[in-house]
């Protein structure tokens, strides 16, 4: 059975209905997204592609709960996140979303271990528990020997792997990645993508990835295309 | 010209940062100016002294009086043009806080102080009223004394409740003349003392002596003191300036402390300015590297930084100095008669400018050096 059929068989973890987003710039209304409706099933590995200005990052931001839609409904795991207030949204993100950024966004003054531990500070776990989980996560991404290094002492690829460890440490519902390989050389990019593959395949994590790199998109099971704020035809990359 | 434009535009890039730094500079330059003026005001009494006036007092200390008959003996000394006796009254007007100098003086006193300008009719009214008083313009303004007002003063050295009638207001010939003083008749003091405290009558606190020729001041001083050596009340005669300075010198420790503190505020703002320039330069390291890559020399990069630092310093100086005058004016009026003369001196203004210039230069030194010597590749890596 094809991956798309597999996905459809499972319940959608993200339900987007008629979502629109616009900004007001100097008195003018600038539309970014128009009437987006989309389902994402649990365990999917989805790529969001499109030319610059297509609104793909904006859509990712809405799904991740760091921005709010101007209209429409957005349900993640049954929760209407458009209706949550700022405080509730912050708590929701801490429990449900794992972030991976293009430029890693690690705290330069914290070690790898402390960076990975950061999301756990928002939970009730004790120091000992936090430490153990962080070490486990770093071991999983192959950086057990770099726990006390500062980001400035790590290569780009290693920093991104730390970021991935940080993204999964709270066992979130969704992992969102905005151009995860955008700043990496080919070898490091492949390492990172392989890691994402494992997260999806072995751990069943739902991954939504914004990218304009065909190589990255090839790893995904489903590709959603955006152009000028509207959905275009979906494509399915060649089966792995 | 292009360089200047570049420097100027650079200062406007970070409006908040530049604005705050400017504000800090203005506050610092202003404080510095005010403190220096306070110290100057302390010495102002000595500045107002005339070179042809001497003060004769008891050699032991000011606390001891001199007998009345000394006056004629002093008058007889060669080189002496005029003598008048005076007593420091030291009373309290309403509250101890309302301090101003009060003197019981002989009739010839005002002739020796020509810089106290009194209208003829007021002087004559004073001479006719034995309880009359002549007050200075600044004193009159501070407490609202008008001609004809009765001023009650509680004596501390000469006990009792005394009352005087304002018969004249004197103005100073120059800005630095002290117009905060209160004069009344020594005769009135003395006749009262004869009745109540006879042992304290017929005595003067000091004699003010006018010499015919200012060059003879030292010689005449010695001659006067020689007259009274080995008597029951030996005298010490000195120029009026030396006499005034004598007071100030006894509070020297405080004045030195205030001067030091005024420079402390400059150091504080230097730290702030140096911080601003260091941060600014660090953030623009990429730009400096780019300029150098394009072929501009390290001197050019240095100039940009020094220029920006000096531009801010200049702005702060101009504003700070401009504000010093109105604020000093307000402060001087608030202090009332405590500081009879409160003027911002030219020396102070020059010091303010010099300090601001120094701050502008020193703050830029380290960042300018770093920017000038940065390797192009290191600097470019700093971008993004």
């Amino acid at each position: 059975m094809s991956a798309a059929v597999d996905a459809a068989a499972r319940a959608p973890v993200v339900e987007i209905r008629h979502v629109a987003k616009h900004y007001v710039r100097g008195g003018q209304i600038v539309p970014v997204l128009t009437d987006i409706s989309l389902d994402i099933a649990a365990g999917e590995f989805m790529a969001l592609m499109g030319p610059s200005g297509s609104g793909k990052s904006t859509l990712l931001n809405l799904i991740a709960g760091i921005d709010k839609p101007t209209a429409g409904s957005l349900r993640v795991d049954g929760v209407e996140i458009a209706a949550l207030d700022e405080g509730e949204l912050a708590d929701w993100r801490a429990r449900n979303i794992g972030f991976i950024f293009q430029f890693y966004n690690l705290m330069p003054v914290l070690t790898a271990l402390e960076n990975v531990e950061l999301p756990l500070l928002l939970t009730r776990l004790g120091a000992q528990d936090r430490r153990e989980r962080a070490e486990a996560a770093l071991a999983m991404v192959g950086l057990a020997d770099r726990v006390d290094h500062y980001p400035s002492e790590l290569s780009g690829g290693q920093q991104q792997r730390v970021a991935i460890a940080r993204a999964i440490i709270t066992d979130p519902t969704l992992v969102v990645a905005d151009e995860p390989t955008g700043d990496l050389d080919r070898k490091s990019a492949d390492d990172v993508l392989a890691l994402l593959d494992r997260l999806n395949g072995e751990l069943g994590k739902t991954i939504i990835m914004v990218t304009h790199d065909a190589n990255s998109a090839a790893r995904a099971r489903r590709v959603v295309n955006l152009e000028k704020g509207e959905l275009r035809a979906e494509t399915v990359p060649a089966a792995a | 010209m292009e360089t200047l434009k570049l420097i100027f535009r650079n200062t406007l890039r970070h409006k908040l940062r530049t604005g705050l730094t400017l504000l800090g500079l203005v506050v610092a330059i202003l404080s510095f100016g005010l403190l220096q003026t306070v110290v100057d005001a302390w010495y102002a009494g000595a500045e107002g002294a005339a070179p042809n006036r001497l003060i004769t007092r008891n050699a032991i200390s000011l606390v001891f009086p001199l007998p009345v008959h000394y006056r004629d003996k002093i008058r007889g000394v060669e080189g002496v043009k005029a003598v008048a006796g005076a007593n420091w009254f030291g009373g309290v007007y309403q509250d101890v806080k309302n301090f101003f100098p009060q003197f019981a003086v002989e009739p010839g006193y005002f002739a020796i102080y020509p810089e106290y300008r009194i209208k003829n009719d007021e002087l004559r009214a004073f001479e006719r009223d034995r309880k009359g008083a002549i007050v200075g313009r600044k004193l009159a303004e501070t407490y609202g004394f008008k001609i004809g007002d009765t001023v009650p003063i509680r004596g501390q050295i000469y006990p009792g409740n005394w009352e005087f009638t304002v018969q004249g207001i004197y103005d100073g010939a120059e800005a630095k003349t002290d117009t905060s003083q209160f004069f009344f008749h020594w005769d009135y003091l003395n006749e009262t003392l004869k009745k109540r405290f006879p042992t304290r009558a017929s005595q003067f606190g000091v004699f003010v002596v006018q010499v015919a020729n200012a060059d003879d001041a030292a010689a005449v001083s010695v001659a006067i003191d020689k007259q009274f050596r080995n008597s029951t009340a030996e005298t010490l005669t000195e120029t009026e300036k030396a006499f005034q300075i004598g007071f100030v010198k006894q509070t020297e420790a405080l004045l030195i402390a205030i001067r030091i503190v005024s420079y402390v505020v400059i150091v504080i703002i230097l730290a702030v300015m140096a911080n601003t320039m260091a941060m600014t330069a660090r953030e623009r390291m990429g730009e400096y590297a780019t300029l150098k890559a394009l072929g501009f020399g390290p001197g050019f990069v240095s100039t940009l930084i020094y220029g920006e630092s000096l531009a801010i310093a200049l702005g702060g100086t101009v504003l700070g100095i401009a504000l010093t005058f109105p604020i000093a004016d307000w402060f001087g009026r608030k202090m009332g008669t405590l500081f009879p003369v409160f003027e911002v001196g030219n020396g102070t203004v020059m010091l303010q400018a010099a300090c601001a210039l120094a701050v502008g230069v020193i703050a830029a030194m380290l960042p300018a050096r770093r920017a000038a010597t940065v390797r192009i590749v290191d600097g470019l890596r700093a971008i993004g």
């Binding site: 429990r95 | 705050l20 501390q156």
Partner: protein, 388 residues
């Protein structure tokens, strides 16, 4: 606080130069703030320790200082006969009828002629001041032209060493001893025999009468009686209060000037802190966005930056206080305007001053960090991330 302390501390440590300059500026302000208070505390301590709580000073009414005061022999006898006056070991009333004058001595080094308080004491004079101890030489012989000098006078003035002769009042006076008055105002005085000084200055009346009460609680009774007596025109004050009042003008001046300066200086230092914190927020905008995305609240961000600013203030406060503490080794001498004579005193650090200083430093930090912290907290997540 959710955002770890480590984050704040290490950020300050990373930008060493900036942290140093900003905290340094604050340290200087704190130094001035603390030093001025210490100066005033030292002045008060000196004058308060000049008095015993069971001694009284009787002067002519409304005379502010002993120099201005005059008490005649009849009045002195009446005072001495009051029942509240204690009786000494020798069976005599514990009273000292004193005459006080100012003489001038040249300051060592600069030679500046300075007014020195010279006190003629009665037989009970030394007993009434238990804090005064002879440390060199011997006490003057009553009825002679001998004098003893206070420690501060011996150190700071020429012609005041044992064996020196001073000339005033038409005769020579011989220095035979140095006394230590425990840091009180007496350290700046010369003492001699009251009757001798009276004669030398051709005075009839005493300046003041100092007396010991049988019990400190007797003060109200003796004050009421003496001040109500129509034959007398006297003021009765506790010795401590008498000397405390003499410092009022100088103390006021120091306090007002000091406070004004501290406020103005603190504006400068706070501006420095504000500039630094605004830059910190600007440089870490991306980090702020990331933290918010991860789930940290606006309040967490606000507190983290406020804490950073407060920590800067704290560092400045501790350094400034430490520097001010060093001033305790310095002794200041100046003219006390009210007594018109030289007074030497030290900088005194009290726990209250230390506490006030630290609070002041923290407030400066908060004041400087508040607006920048607010800006950090109000950033929108997407804007902050875009700026990274």
């Amino acid at each position: 606080m959710a955002i770890p302390l480590r984050y704040t501390i290490r950020n300050l440590w990373t930008r060493k130069l900036t942290t140093l300059l900003t905290a340094g500026g604050m340290a200087l302000v704190v130094f001035v703030f603390a030093a001025v208070q210490m100066l005033d505390a030292g002045l008060q301590a000196t004058l308060v320790s000049t008095g015993q709580d069971d001694n009284i000073v009787v002067t002519r009414r409304s005379a502010g200082t002993e120099v201005q005061s005059s008490v005649d022999r009849v009045q002195a006898a009446i005072i001495e006969s009051q029942p509240e006056i204690a009786i000494g070991a020798d069976g005599q009333r514990l009273v000292s009828k004193e005459t006080v004058v100012l003489i001038t001595l040249p300051k060592r080094g600069s030679g500046v002629a300075t007014n020195i308080m010279t006190r003629g004491i009665g037989p009970g004079g030394l007993t009434l001041r238990p804090q005064v101890k002879l440390v060199e030489g011997r006490m003057f012989k009553p009825g002679s032209a001998e004098i003893v000098v206070g420690r501060s006078v011996a150190e700071r003035f020429d012609g005041a060493a044992i064996g020196d002769a001073m000339r005033f009042g038409g005769r020579d006076w011989y220095v035979v001893g140095v006394f230590d008055a425990g840091g009180s105002g007496f350290d700046s005085e010369l003492w001699g025999d009251a009757e001798q000084l009276l004669q030398a200055f051709r005075r009839q009346n005493w300046s003041a009468v100092i007396a010991r009460l049988t019990d400190a609680g007797q003060f109200a009774a003796i004050k009421a009686r003496l001040e109500a007596d129509p034959r007398l025109t006297l003021d009765v004050k506790r010795e401590q209060q008498f000397y405390a009042e003499q410092s009022e003008q100088l103390s006021n001046f120091i306090t007002i000037l000091g406070l004004t300066l501290s406020v103005i200086f603190s504006i400068g230092a706070t501006i420095g802190a504000m500039i630094t914190m605004y830059a910190a927020v600007a440089n870490r905008t991306g980090e702020i966005g990331t933290l918010r995305a991860l789930g940290f609240r606006r309040s967490n961000v606000l507190l983290a930056f406020l804490f950073e600013a407060a920590l800067l203030g704290m560092v400045g406060g501790v350094v400034g206080l430490a520097l001010a503490a060093l001033m305790q080794f310095v002794e200041i001498s100046t003219l006390n305007w009210q007594s018109f004579s030289e007074l030497a005193f030290r900088f005194t650090l009290t726990p209250a001053i230390a506490a006030k200083t630290i609070v002041f430093a923290l407030l400066m930090g908060f004041a400087g960090g508040f607006l920048p912290a607010l800006r950090a907290a109000r950033l929108k997540i997407v804007d902050a991330l875009r700026a990274a």
